[in-house]
Symmetry: C2
Subunit: 346 residues, 2 copies
């Protein structure tokens, strides 16, 4: 071939756009393909939801500090999170793994014990997969299958002007957990005798190593008869996800710095690292909280509920996402989600 | 951990049994989990079929002789084949890839052009996936989604005593194609100036590099109102697949050496390599033909049809699969399917 374009030139989202631009959907049962948290298939009186994620050793996880059991758990959870982000129920998963002979049967047992724990907790069945060898490292590819009533599905598109912007739980903790683990890894490399400094960081470590998908939030919303107008899960960071919702819905969004839900421990750890807590909440990623918009009519139902933070509202400004700082200045948010394509080959 | 058991001690099927033994299906919608060509999910008036495969560079394919376009095509086809093996229609796929920065955008375009060609030919939509970097090489994980009417699904189990054993197309060609490619790779390594010897091997090369899934066979059978009693696709080799059908159905099988469908070119190439053509047909793998059992009542419908070979019958001998040699001697067949776990880590 005469031309060579490097992968990192396009970035992950650019590459996906580039790859998929020539594909056309022709099947009647394909309701929605690429571009949301899940693909949507017509299954008669319901929709089937399909989502898939691939985790690669050295890119998405580091076995030096991620125990295999937690890794298995997390690999399932991140997929289920995508099903819940469509307001659906997850029912099944398939798990494919490629692993080198560096891994023993006992190591694989650890991985699958985490997968099984997640299956039991979230009530999903392991129904298939593939196991193969690799020439280096571990690759995990999981597909989750779910369902949703046709009149209850929530897409990234659908936000309406003046809708409230709501996020579940709190943000930035998983990112701070990652910072702690990276710091301890460096300390360990320099002096393996040194005891790790893990006091006061339990919560942020758990959010990084063993995150939960917010199935409970979907049920809270159903119980309160709240149907979001648009929704996404926070995997790449709040800023990136707000931009997704905004683009998909063709509207602008304004959020308020002072409304961002940040746990006290996250706040403290961020300060220890000389990081601005709000920046960690906006760009950290891996929170797996649910970000959604909803009609102002639901305001009274959610007001004061500890599981939710109302962080802003939908505007008529075409696809611009702004944050109002505590001092009143307005800044436009740009996504800083993860890009992996600058990794080197060994 | 105190114990260390090597992965290759269990083999691929042993490892799958080991991994899955502690998983229990609890979802009402899970009709069939691990152990057939697809998982089966209840979708109201139909079944949804799900299958997934992972292909790893250096294990399943070698980019030295597999063009990326063909690789993309083949990666889709092997998954669709599993849907057809349940007598279903394939409608959608998801494609996840991990690739190192050794790959350019142009290389990925080649891969996806093969994927697109397969999607167009087999009428399936690409509805999702994941793209990420890897630290070495290319990994492709594809999930196919299909559907089948509830009264038309065909499992590996279900063969009845005295049923006929039928296989579509012919066997052993893909394996001979692989032998030719391996030979030319060695020749090239020794002398890059040497022209490859590719005369008279077009068919076996195509069967290896660009196999087809037998969607047409499913339609032939429907047109003739033939419903197989059990079915599987031939991916690991005829012997291995017969043993799967036999075990799942709890019955024995007898096939006849002289009935094995072997193409003339396959026969010639096998002879060139000093291999017994029947052995290649039995153990070669990657044929992606359909192997099924059916009632003798259908015999007249299939008799003389060039797309099918009746190679034997189901017996009452508990799970024993025998082959009757041309000289009349009877041998028990043992599976020699692929095992990948003896591969080394770089």
């Amino acid at each position: 071939m005469s031309n060579r374009t490097e992968l990192d030139k396009l970035g992950e989202f650019g590459l996906i756009d580039h790859i998929t631009k020539d594909f056309k959907n022709t099947q009647e049962s394909t309701v929605y393909g690429i571009g949301d948290d899940c693909a949507v298939i017509d299954a008669g009186d319901k929709y089937t939801l399909i989502t898939t994620d691939m985790l690669v050793e050295g890119v998405h996880f580091n076995l030096m500090y991620a125990p295999l059991k937690h890794l298995g758990y997390k690999a399932v959870v991140v997929n289920l999170s995508d099903i819940y982000a469509m307001n659906g129920d997850a029912n099944q998963i398939t798990v494919s793994i490629a692993m080198s002979n560096r891994f023993s049967v006992e190591a694989i047992d650890e991985l699958y014990s985490g997968i099984r724990t997640a299956c039991e907790l979230y009530n999903v069945d392991l129904i298939g997969g593939d196991t193969t060898s690799s020439q280096s490292g571990l690759v995990i590819s999981i597909t989750a299958i779910g369902e949703v009533k046709k009149d209850e599905i929530v897409y990234r598109k659908g936000a309406k002007e003046n809708d409230l912007i709501v996020v579940s739980g709190n943000l930035g903790a998983a990112y701070m957990g990652l910072q702690v683990l990276e710091r301890e890894k460096e300390v360990y490399k320099e002096n393996p005798e040194m005891q790790p400094e893990m006091e006061g960081v339990d919560y942020v470590l758990e959010r990084q190593l063993k995150p939960e998908a917010r199935k409970d939030i979907i049920h809270f919303l159903k119980d309160m008869s709240i149907l979001p107008s648009s929704m996404i899960d926070v995997s790449d960071g709040l800023a990136s996800e707000l931009i997704h919702l905004s683009k998909a819905s063709g509207l602008g969004m304004t959020i308020y710095d002072e409304k961002l839900p940040i746990d006290q421990e996250t706040f403290n750890v961020a300060r220890d690292f000389n990081l601005t807590p709000a920046t960690c909440a906006l760009n950290g990623g891996e929170d797996y909280e649910l970000l959604f918009t909803m009609s102002q009519d639901y305001f009274e139902k959610l007001k004061g509920n500890q599981h939710f933070a109302i962080i802003g509202h939908v505007t008529d400004e075409n696809c611009t996402v702004n944050i109002v700082e505590k001092n009143g200045t307005i800044q436009e948010l740009k996504a800083q989600g993860f890009t992996h394509f600058n990794e080197g080959e060994n």
